[in-house]
């Protein structure tokens, strides 16, 4: 159970990205976070693994407040929180296999990273994860030689290497075409259902939300404006989330 309590983030520029946001995420949930660009979706996800430091509030994971952990304790905690990104954030010049193995770095003693050494089990595991997302044949290809959909699958494999309990997905399909978007979302669904990983995924398209998410939270200018099942988003709610000029398509 992940509990967000009064989470607020004010950037140095004075922008209020999150304004007193509170909600709960039960284990194993597929949660979609929706809202306009700049509504605070990315900030919310990055506050959970503290890539961005919250200004105030609590993030309780099974009773442990992530916000109060020391940097070293947080580093250990991050190993259980996988993350995938809109722009994949792969190291372009490295091989696919190296990119996937990088997901294991949190478990490995830094001294061995200097000589680029990974235990054999990790390498085997990396191949298995690549097989799972269907690109094991690309293991020795440079990451930037892959297509967008393949790169995101490498991103997923990297997150799976962490053996995560929570997977944060920051607009994972926003840079992909609709067909690829569905294939990536299906992998997330699979991880959610087979591995019982809690998935917290920010999304732009409501049809994807309806198709994949168990639960939705909506943000508008940093405030939580909706929380509930996807089918409960009616036209009035839609206008509240996306503004009154927005039109519903699809």
């Amino acid at each position: 159970m992940l509990q967000i309590r009064n989470l607020t983030k004010v950037y140095d520029s004075g922008v209020v990205a999150l304004d007193d946001v509170s909600f709960d995420i039960p284990d194993g949930q597929f949660l979609a976070v929706i809202g306009l660009s700049g509504s605070g979706k990315s900030t919310l996800l990055r506050c959970i693994n503290r890539l961005i430091e919250p200004t105030s509030g609590q993030i309780l994971w099974d009773g442990v407040d992530l916000v109060s952990l020391s940097p070293e304790e947080m580093r250990r905690m991050r190993r259980k929180i996988g993350m995938i990104f809109q722009h994949f954030n792969l190291v372009n010049r490295s091989r696919v296999l190296t990119n996937v193995l990088a997901g294991r770095l949190g478990y490995i003693n830094p001294a061995f990273s200097l000589i680029n050494h990974f235990p054999k089990e990790d390498v085997e595991n990396a191949i298995r994860q690549l097989e799972r997302v269907g690109i094991a044949d690309k293991a020795n290809v440079r990451a930037d030689e892959l297509s967008g959909g393949q790169q995101q699958r490498v991103g997923i494999a990297r997150a799976l290497m962490q053996d995560p309990s929570i997977l944060l997905a920051d607009e994972p399909v926003a840079s992909l075409d609709p067909v690829l978007a569905h294939s990536i979302m299906k992998y997330l669904e699979l991880i959610n259902q087979e591995d019982k990983v809690t998935v917290i995924c920010s999304l732009h398209f409501l049809d994807l939300v309806h198709r994949y998410a168990d639960h939705v939270v909506a943000l508008n200018q940093g405030k939580l404006v909706f929380e509930g099942e996807p089918k409960k988003i009616d036209d009035a709610k839609f206008k509240e989330i996306y503004g009154k000029d927005a039109e519903r398509v699809g």
Partner: protein
């Protein structure tokens, strides 16, 4: 509305007019101080010397032939003697001879000099040899006589103003090349020096690159900005570094002295070099497990750190043993295989350098280890203790660290200026430093973090910029004093300049990498070292290669002139020849430089294309 529109336009024109005026003034003054004077080019004297130098430069002193010489003289009287011209006894030698008609005359008279029966198509200088001063022959307008296909020549001269009652002579020395051409001494010297130059640049670039890479990370804003620590951690880090450096240096020196007699025995040294790393490897594997799911217990951590300390001591011994083995093995190999003796000498030299460097390496590693350890202790103490206790701890530690740092600066000032007053150079700085540290600790929140990374970034940037503004040529002057005239001084100067300029260029590349991969690796729980190795390094390899090659280019060019100040290399020869007005010799060196620079330029462009 109209008025509003017009007003800015007038201002604009006025500003433009002023700017143009200012430009004219600037360039007028520039022409004045640079003393632009094209008239100088027109002067005949200048043109003559210019032509002479240019002709010499176009005939580099590269090849020469053995020459056959045919010196001949014929007597002449200036003015005509009262008793008539005595009978010419003639040149007894066979071969060519010269005649002059008439055989006497007053200064300014025109005489005809003819040569017969010389070597065909030969050339040689023709001179008037005064009877009173035969060592200094006088030129006769045209310097050289050239024989035709039959070996004859004929030239008209005006007699010089050298009157004498004795017999005087006109002399020709006919010369002809014989056999195959061979390289002149100048060409051979040039070859030796150009090899020296290229390797000077190579070593300087290598050393510079190796040291510039780690420095560049500390001079990159994007890596340093997130580095923040609480006061206690920073203060303990400073103290830990200084204490670590001192302790490790002492320990290394002690181990060195203690083991000296053993490592000079080759079998012991070689055995140590093989056995110690194996032991260290096993110990290391135990002390540093590859994967650590749970944080280890305190007791286990202490035991592990002790084992690591033991490994470090063994490592220092192994380095001494390696140095000893190389120093002993090198000369033996050099004697055995005299063809590649330089390899043996190289081994010997490396051994010597290693032996010198071990205490320094140990000191740096000791400083890093102790500094890091104490910084972690400070971090954890800040996290766990109550605020009031942290505040007290901060005040004490910051005061101590400030005092130590300021006392170090005081000691440096004492060393430079030799005040000879310990109150002014040790105690006052220490008190002021302590006060500054205490003040800092009092003014900040006890658990707040300070941007120590960005502060370090500014310090390193400032040092880099200051050192970079000193040309390698100037640095060479200092190093010539430190290690004597020769290529070693030049190599050190180029190396130092390479470190500072490459560190700056590299760090700008680090600043321009995409932050996405770093963010992704941080999110996996990788620590900062791992983030650098896996997210930063792969991104910067191509620009690093490009900049290294560019620097290698610069170093080759710089090393050609570093000899001007005694830094060795081809510049030494070039300057010598220019000072001796031997422009043909200098020309050879210039050609050599051009060839080397162009070749390396081509090679580096090929490499750059392939790897970037």
């Amino acid at each position: 509305m109209d008025k509003d529109n017009r007003k800015p336009n007038i201002w604009k024109s006025l500003t433009l007019g002023l700017a143009v005026l200012l430009g004219i003034v600037v360039y007028a003054y520039g022409a004045e101080v640079t003393r632009v004077n094209l008239g100088e080019l027109q002067s005949e004297r200048r043109q003559e010397s210019m032509v002479r130098v240019l002709r010499a430069l176009f005939r580099p002193d590269l090849l020469e032939y053995d020459q056959v010489l045919e010196p001949r003289v014929t007597p002449i009287y200036v003015p005509c003697p009262a008793g008539g011209v005595p009978e010419d006894l003639g040149d007894p030698r066979s071969g060519g001879y010269i005649t002059v008609t008439p055989a006497c005359g007053s200064p300014g008279d025109v005489v005809r000099v003819e040569g017969f029966n010389f070597m065909p198509n030969a050339e040689g200088p023709l001179r008037f040899v005064p009877g009173s001063d035969p060592e200094n022959p006088v030129g006769l307008g045209q310097l050289f006589a050239n024989t035709d296909a039959q070996g004859n020549f004929s030239m008209d001269f005006t007699l010089p103003n050298r009157e004498s009652e004795d017999v005087q002579y006109i002399r020709v020395i006919m010369r002809q090349n014989e056999g195959a051409p061979y390289f002149t001494q100048n060409a051979k010297d040039t070859w030796d020096r150009i090899v020296e130059t290229v390797f000077m640049a190579l070593l300087a670039t290598t050393i510079g690159t190796v040291l510039a890479v780690p420095i560049s990370f500390t001079a990159a804003r994007n890596l340093m900005k997130p580095v923040r620590s609480p006061i206690a951690s920073i203060a303990l880090n400073v103290i830990g570094w200084l204490a670590g450096i001192y302790l490790a240096y002492q320990v290394a020196a002690w181990i060195g002295g203690f083991t000296q007699q053993y490592v000079s025995v080759l079998p012991i040294a070689l055995a140590s070099v093989v056995v110690v790393p194996i032991i260290a490897n096993f110990a290391f594997r135990w002390a540093v497990p590859v994967e650590d799911a749970e944080p280890p217990t305190r007791a286990l951590q202490i035991v592990r750190n002790l084992v690591l300390l033991g490994i470090a001591a063994l490592g220092i011994y192994a380095l001494y043993a390696l140095a000893g083995a190389m120093s002993t093995l090198g000369p033996q190999l050099a004697r055995q295989f005299s063809g590649v003796a330089f390899m043996g000498n190289f081994l010997f030299r490396l051994g010597g350098i290693l032996d010198l460097l071990v205490p320094t390496i140990a000191a740096l590693m000791g400083g890093g280890a102790l500094g890091g350890l104490l910084a972690r202790v400070g971090q954890q103490a800040t996290e766990r203790l109550p605020e009031a206790a942290v505040k007290t701890m901060n005040i004490v530690l910051a005061g101590l660290a400030g005092a130590v740092l300021a006392a170090l600066f005081g000691a440096f000032a004492e060393w430079v200026y030799q005040f000879g007053n310990p109150v002014a150079t040790l105690w006052w700085p220490a008190i002021i430093g302590a006060a500054a540290g205490v003040l800092l600790a009092v003014l900040t929140q006890p658990k707040a973090t300070l941007g120590v990374g960005i502060a370090l970034y500014y310090v390193i940037r400032t040092i880099l910029n200051a050192l970079r503004s000193i040309e390698a040529l100037v640095m060479a002057i200092v190093f010539v004093i430190a290690v004597g005239i020769g290529p070693f001084a030049g190599m050190l100067a180029l190396g130092l300049h390479t470190i500072v300029s490459l560190a700056k260029l590299y760090s700008e590349q680090v600043e321009s990498i995409s932050s996405g991969p770093m963010e992704a690796l941080q999110a996996t729980g990788a620590n900062s070292l791992q983030t650098i190795v896996y997210a930063v390094v792969p991104q910067i390899i191509p620009p690093y290669i490009a900049y290294t090659l560019y620097r290698w280019d610069i170093n080759v060019r710089m090393s050609t002139i570093i000899g001007f100040v005694g830094g060795g290399g081809i510049g030494f020869l070039l300057q010598q020849n220019i000072n001796l007005l031997n422009y043909r010799g200098a020309s050879t060196q210039m050609v050599a430089i051009a060839v080397v620079v162009a070749t390396l330029d081509y090679i580096s462009s090929v490499v750059r294309e392939r790897y970037t």
